[in-house]
Amino acid sequence: MLIEILQQTINGLAIGGVYVLIALGLTTVFGILGIAHFAHGSVSMSGGYLTYFLVTAQGLPLLAAIPAALAAGFLLGVLVEMLAYRPVRHANHINAFIVALGLTMMVEGINLQLFGHEQVVIPTGLNRVFRLGGITVPELRLYVIIAAILLVVAMMIFVERTKTGQAIRAVAENRDAAILMGVNVKTIPLIVFGMSTALGVAAGIMVGALFAIAPGIGEGLVVKGFAVLILGGLGSFPGAILGGTVLGITESIAAGFISSGYKDVIAFVVMIIVLLIRPQGLLGRAP
């Protein structure tokens, strides 16, 4: 029993890592700019598709394709902010909402046209399996967990320890005060969107390597991302990390011990229970 629980936890950590990265991107955009960026999942999958293209069609090694896709993801995020959200920043919230939905459809359509309807799996060649007692850890899952941890740590260091990070936090706390303190509030959204999309691309690559990328996967992932946001607490970085991890492990344990047919249902039931007890989410601030 203990071994099974540990194994399910390991299983859940990998997918939890993906949820964390998606949720971190969403919470950064939502917490700082107040935008529910529904296209985040589809944009993230574009990065996964790009990596697949670079590896399979261009013959690039995976370790070269990943940074290239992350850089492309950053630029794509900057473009999304400039071309899609900036024009409606001072308009009614519904405008940004509609832009987000339209962007989702557009990006899904572009992915479909460029990469077709069939699922693609990013080839990694990482097929070894590590065994520890009765627990098995596939090499790829281990690297996904490690990469997710490294990216989260890097993100935290960036936000907490760098001047740009401090500026981002300042804008999130009080935009007007940040302007008075000399923060360039025009560039902050660009950086936020760039970072958020790069994190999403990392998640897209993980999904493409662990499972597969196909039309519609990004939309499903963004729903989970928002669930994590609510579970962890809106706008909270530690909340997104905790929420993503909890959701991943809960899904895995629920499928293993209750029923695989209710995997998603049980995960959302847990979220509802948490919200009944703590409406602000696990680590959110009470209003």
């Binding site: 299983n11 069939e118 799996v121 097929n127 399996v129 098995t136 499972f211 597969a212 293993g256 047919g261």
Partner: protein, 410 residues
């Protein structure tokens, strides 16, 4: 004796010329007659692994028939034109696609139908239409138990294969089998029920029934649970893509037990997800379908032509649709009409297996389709060996007995 001149010479010459012209025109008119057949199938989405190759197969068969002279109905020769719509394996989309084919395009013969949900939706109303529906890969049993006179199916129902699979697994000596599959899909559940019946006869049992959905890609939680039960073997029933992930993740979880399946995926489709090493030793227990080692001469030629035309290997189940068109051709020629769909539907239930088909059918009383409109192929045990599906042996299958059983169901 009066010298009757039937007509003046120059008039006679003109008449001959006119007659010749009319013959030529008549011949060309006959050559230009067109029979449009429709295809409703999953061309995108999860079902496309089955539907797209089926649609390709119908087009290929149409081209072959056209090159060989078309369909001969009395003095007329019909060339086949194919219109294909994407039903996304979705019941609503399939209904819309078929309505469009019948109402807008005036199509009377509709082929394809890879997936059971969408096919059942169309089958529910096709009885009231002046059209004939030829079902391919969709394996839900109830499609041919409703006694729909204008519907036939080339693929045998799933439980017909499940029975043979259960006998095979029991013979291998495995007693405790864990099932992981798309068990919320009726025909997969029917397959597993048949396997279970045969296992029980040999003192075996199914110890777990775990579910995955078409879109699931992470089956490690279910596999971890199954691993904890120490089964003798696992049985995977479902679409190729999720099944491929199950095989891969079972290896990643160190499950070194026999893996049986009911998936009908090609090597190419599996290798998009797994490695050949991860697939080594997996069994697929299914209708014999198209695997080169078990293929007839027609099967080998089909594989070569398909690969050449579409630049990809055909899926093993795609010939179900290819065979539909040859069966339709035989029925139209036997009925002597393209317009009377009732006569063509009746003829379908009387024709022998056409010589051009690819699948190895087991005719019932000498006919390709039984009175339920159901065709039967042999079942086979295939094993993945060094990157390929290898045909190992035929599985015992009694088409006549199953046909009688099917007739008793409603």
């Amino acid at each position: 004796m009066p010298n009757y001149k039937f007509m003046p010479n120059h008039t006679f010459t003109r008449a001959c010329a006119a007659l010749a012209m009319s013959l030529v025109c008549g011949a060309s008119l006959a050559a230009e007659k067109k029979l449009t057949v429709g295809v409703a199938d999953a061309l995108t989405g999860g079902g496309a692994v089955y539907g797209l190759p089926q649609a390709n197969a119908v087009k290929m068969a149409a081209d072959e028939i056209n090159v060989a002279g078309g369909i001969k109905v009395g003095p007329d020769v019909y060339k086949i034109d194919v219109i294909a719509y994407d039903d996304k394996a979705n019941p609503t989309e399939a209904t819309n696609a078929v309505r469009k084919l019948i109402d807008r395009d005036g199509v009377k013969y509709i082929l394809g139908f890879c997936c059971s949900g969408s096919t059942s939706a169309v089958a529910s109303f096709i009885r009231n239409e002046k059209a004939v529906m030829l079902v391919g890969n969709a394996a839900e049993r109830s499609i041919t138990t409703a006694k729909i006179p204008n519907l036939v199916r080339t693929r045998p129902p799933a439980d017909y294969s499940g029975q043979a699979a259960g006998t095979f697994i029991a013979r291998k000596g495995q007693k405790r089998i864990a099932v992981l599959g798309a068990l919320d899909v009726g025909f997969y559940a029917q397959y597993v029920d048949s396997v279970e019946r045969e296992l029980k006869k040999a003192g075996g049992e199914i110890i777990a029934r775990e579910i995955f959905s078409l879109k699931d890609r992470d089956m490690s939680p279910q596999l971890t649970k199954i691993r904890g039960l120490n089964p003798d073997a696992i049985l995977v029933v479902g679409y190729v893509e999720p099944a491929a992930f199950v095989y891969r993740q079972a290896v990643e979880l160190g499950m070194n037990i026999p893996r049986y399946g009911f998936t009908s995926g090609s090597e190419e489709q599996f290798l998009r997800v797994t490695t050949s090493e991860q697939m080594e030793g997996v069994w697929d227990l299914r209708p014999t379908e198209l695997t080169l080692l078990s293929a007839s001469k027609n099967g080998v030629a089909y594989h070569a032509n398909y690969t050449k035309i579409f630049n990809a290997s055909p899926s093993p189940s795609s010939p179900y649709a290819y065979d539909q068109l040859y069966a339709l051709k035989a029925a139209v020629e036997a009925a002597g009409t393209v317009d009377n769909t009732e006569a063509v539907a009746k003829a379908l239930r009387t024709i022998p297996v056409p010589p051009q088909v690819v699948m190895q059918y087991q005719p019932v009383d000498g006919k390709m389709f039984d009175s339920n409109g159901q065709a039967y192929t042999s079942n086979g045990a295939f094993q993945w060996q060094k990157g390929k599906w290898v045909f190992v042996e035929d599985l015992p299958s009694d088409s006549k007995a199953y046909s009688q059983f099917l007739s008793t169901l409603n």
